[in-house]
Symmetry: none
Subunit: 120 residues, 4 copies
């Protein structure tokens, strides 16, 4: 994984994990890699890995059993909420930006369809 310098590594890893939670690679209640494993997989320092879990736990997306490991939250509702929360946030930010650029709704749709076609 390649890290962008503009964003803290721990946030990039965090998003990558949230991604796996939402697309089903990490199912509710399942054990997540230990901090040390995470550090190895993502080639980051154990401290940074720790920070990732700290943030995820704070968002209610995982929980910790001491000496046992870290687990994906069992509350599926929480996961759905997070998806909606992020989707709305991103949408709002995106639209605000386009508005700031004085891009009309028609142009906006054009850009999106263009990119959608390009990616599909």
């Amino acid at each position: 994984m390649q890290y962008k310098p503009s964003l803290p590594i721990y946030q990039q890893v965090e998003m990558d994990i949230i991604k796996d939670m939402l697309n089903g690679k990490l199912s509710p209640g399942s054990k997540m890699p230990s901090g040390r494993e995470l550090a190895l997989v993502y080639k980051i320092n154990p401290n940074t890995a720790q920070r990732v879990y700290q943030e995820l736990e704070h968002k209610g997306l995982c929980y910790t059993k001491r000496g046992m490991g870290t687990f994906v939250t069992e509350e599926e509702e929480r996961l759905k909420t997070e998806r909606i929360h992020l989707a709305k946030e991103y949408s709002r930010e995106f639209l605000q930006r386009m508005k700031d650029l004085s891009v009309s709704k028609e142009q906006l749709r054009k850009y999106l369809e263009e990119e959608l076609d390009a990616s599909s």
Copy 2:
């Protein structure tokens, strides 16, 4: 103006000025506020104001005449290019994020229309 802690202040001010260039409040060739004025208007540190102009000049959106001040670029083409460049970049980023959230195209459209309605 309220600054978000997640983004450097100079970038937020920068975007605000670009916004004014694109919506016509700052027309091509017109004189921009001095660094000192900018600092006062936006309630930022003069160093930060300086940084803003530095970035804008680097993007070719303004230029400086020694002893005269800073001026919006006269090349309207440059402004349009900037708009398109940013719009595409934002669109691409937005779609990538939604993809990472496993949001389908249908849901995506729903979120957008929702927010568009809310803001209009």
Copy 3:
């Protein structure tokens, strides 16, 4: 039983057992559950159960007969002493905390009566 993450599980189980010793559910000299049983009842790791008895024995609240099991101490005096010891310690800690919060004695009494009413 629900475990708080802020305190080691073995201490929580320990307190629960001391509670039973003081309220009479576990009478002096009576046999306590085996380590294995304890692990089952409290849904904890056998190692943790072992640790619980280790701590209790160290406090003189129980003793072990090789091959026979673990028994509540027969010295009733020891139980009373423990109660007083803990009560004083908790009181002192509590008052220190309230002092740190700059809570006056009047307010302190108010909080206590409030909680006492709520629980009764």
Copy 4:
């Protein structure tokens, strides 16, 4: 300052600062020591100092201006809320503990008055 091994240092420092916020040594809006200063004063690592502010900010008791420093929150209401929150939490915990020890309300009052007298 002497640190207890039973509690993370960052939490002990945190409580010490909250104490100063509540007793008026740190007034709302005032600048707090820089991370480096804090590290020197409390004889801890800069990282640990950082953690302290991170936790305090998360609780809404201070906020950060990048490059400017960390400041006590201006919302006095937040401070009061925190005091009440902690006072109630401590009271509840204390009473639960006494209940677990099968200490009667009369005995409880006795212990408290005893300690109050001893400290005054």
